[in-house]
């Protein structure tokens, strides 16, 4: 051994015995298992958190804001059986499915339930020309360009995106309206295709082989929905 260039005084030197050792308690030996479990659990937790809480899918579905006028689709479209296009007239020709002007309401309500307090705002609007401020329910992000006419003309039913509006007292969002959801149908449109004249029929069910009908309609109408980005984003 080399000559001393350090003092051999065990009592004073660190790491040789005089200092009391810190001893980890025995339970710390469980750390190994615990950390493995925590790692796995953390992953699961994150997935659940993201999928369950932050996904727009879950924050959007069920959105049913209160409207200024308690208009019931269940009554008008359901019980009374008024066709969608009576109010949403531009749905077949325009990118937008318009919300009807007050005058459309007054077509009937001039004579029906002329004193109902629920219709107070409608009457006032018709009188003053002050429009009714409805709350938008189905709201796509701003960079998405959805065209109602294109879809309706291809035979995609209202129900496919909006659900059974004819059963809704208050309109609510039933589909996630996310990009992934749009893509599902663009990749396989068959289940959502129906004859052109059945587009607004809420309770239409295909007779016979649904898959065959879808495929047939797709071929007939030359429908090949694009999944190119530029189809919806520009």
């Amino acid at each position: 051994m080399a000559p001393d260039n350090h003092a051999h005084d065990p009592g004073n030197r660190p790491g040789t015995g005089s200092e009391k050792r810190f001893v980890f308690p025995k339970w710390t030996n469980r750390l190994r298992e615990a950390s493995a479990v925590a790692a796995l659990g953390g992953v699961v937790y994150l997935v659940v958190l993201v999928a369950g809480v932050f996904s727009p899918q879950n924050s959007a579905i069920g959105y049913a804001p209160e409207q200024p006028v308690p208009y019931s689709h269940a009554l008008h479209a359901g019980e009374l059986g008024i066709d969608c296009r009576y109010c949403h007239v531009t749905v077949e020709t325009s990118a937008r499915a318009n919300v009807p002007p007050t005058a459309t309401c007054m077509n009937c309500h001039k004579t029906i339930r002329t004193t109902s307090p629920k219709l107070e705002l409608v009457r006032k609007s018709a009188e003053t020309g002050e429009p009714i401020h409805w709350v938008r329910v189905h709201d796509l992000p701003d960079f998405v360009y959805f065209n109602h006419a294109g879809h309706v003309q291809s035979g995609v039913g209202c129900v496919s995106c909006h659900g059974r509006v004819d059963r809704m007292e208050v309109v609510e969002q039933v589909e996630p309206l996310t990009m992934g959801w749009c893509l599902d149908c663009h990749r396989d449109p068959d289940p959502n295709l129906r004859p052109r004249d059945k587009v607004t029929v809420m309770d239409w069910e295909p007779e016979g082989d649904a898959a065959a009908l879808g495929a047939q309609l797709r071929t007939e109408r030359n429908i090949s929905p694009s999944v190119d980005c530029a189809t919806c984003h520009r």
Partner: protein, 186 residues
């Protein structure tokens, strides 16, 4: 020399060496004496001690190989599925999946998976982390990580006999033979 004791049951006996060569010779003797639950502790891996102790090769490399292969597979399938199957888009007019472009990620994931297997596998096989151990409560044993070499024969070894083993250890030429006690707390 008086041993540091925590008052628990006897865990093992240890003996201390200053030089690696004496230590290694002693190890060979312990091995030849047929002990199973014993170990040698040194501040650095002493070359040749594997043989002196009679340790078999570890299966870690196989673990790493398997994991690396998994990484390669995951990378290949992931890239193919994501770009060519799940949402195929035309990029620069190229094929949806092209092997050359996938190579870097395949390589990286192979290495990453292997390294994880290597790292976690090694600690796992070593039974670590294990923060509590009777040896870690032994005062003298501190120098195992600095400048001393120890042979430890555990009490659970079938051939262990306090007196005889103590004598055996003393015969190995170490500077001291000491008891290692189980700690009472925890």
């Amino acid at each position: 020399m008086s041993a540091t004791s925590h008052g628990g049951g006897l865990h093992a006996l240890l003996t201390e060496f200053e030089s690696p060569s004496a230590f290694m010779q002693a190890c060979a003797k312990v091995r030849d004496a047929g002990f199973r639950h014993w170990d040698a502790h040194s501040p650095f891996p002493v070359h040749g001690l594997d043989d002196a102790m009679g340790i078999r090769g570890t299966r870690l490399p196989w673990l790493v190989l398997a994991s690396g292969a998994t990484g390669l597979g995951v990378a290949t399938l992931m890239q193919w599925w994501m770009n060519a199957v799940d949402y195929p888009y035309v990029i620069s007019g190229k094929p949806l999946f092209g092997l050359p472009a996938a190579v870097p990620v395949m390589f990286e994931l192979t290495v990453l998976f292997s390294a994880f297997a290597c790292f976690f596998g090694m600690w796992g096989l070593n039974g670590m982390p294990r923060l509590h151990h009777p040896l870690l409560a032994h005062d003298r044993f501190r120098r195992a990580s600095q400048d001393r070499f120890y042979i430890v024969i555990e009490a659970r070894d079938p051939k262990f006999d306090l007196e005889r083993t103590r004598a055996f250890l003393a015969s190995l030429g170490g500077s001291v033979v000491d008891e290692v006690r189980e700690s009472v707390e925890g």
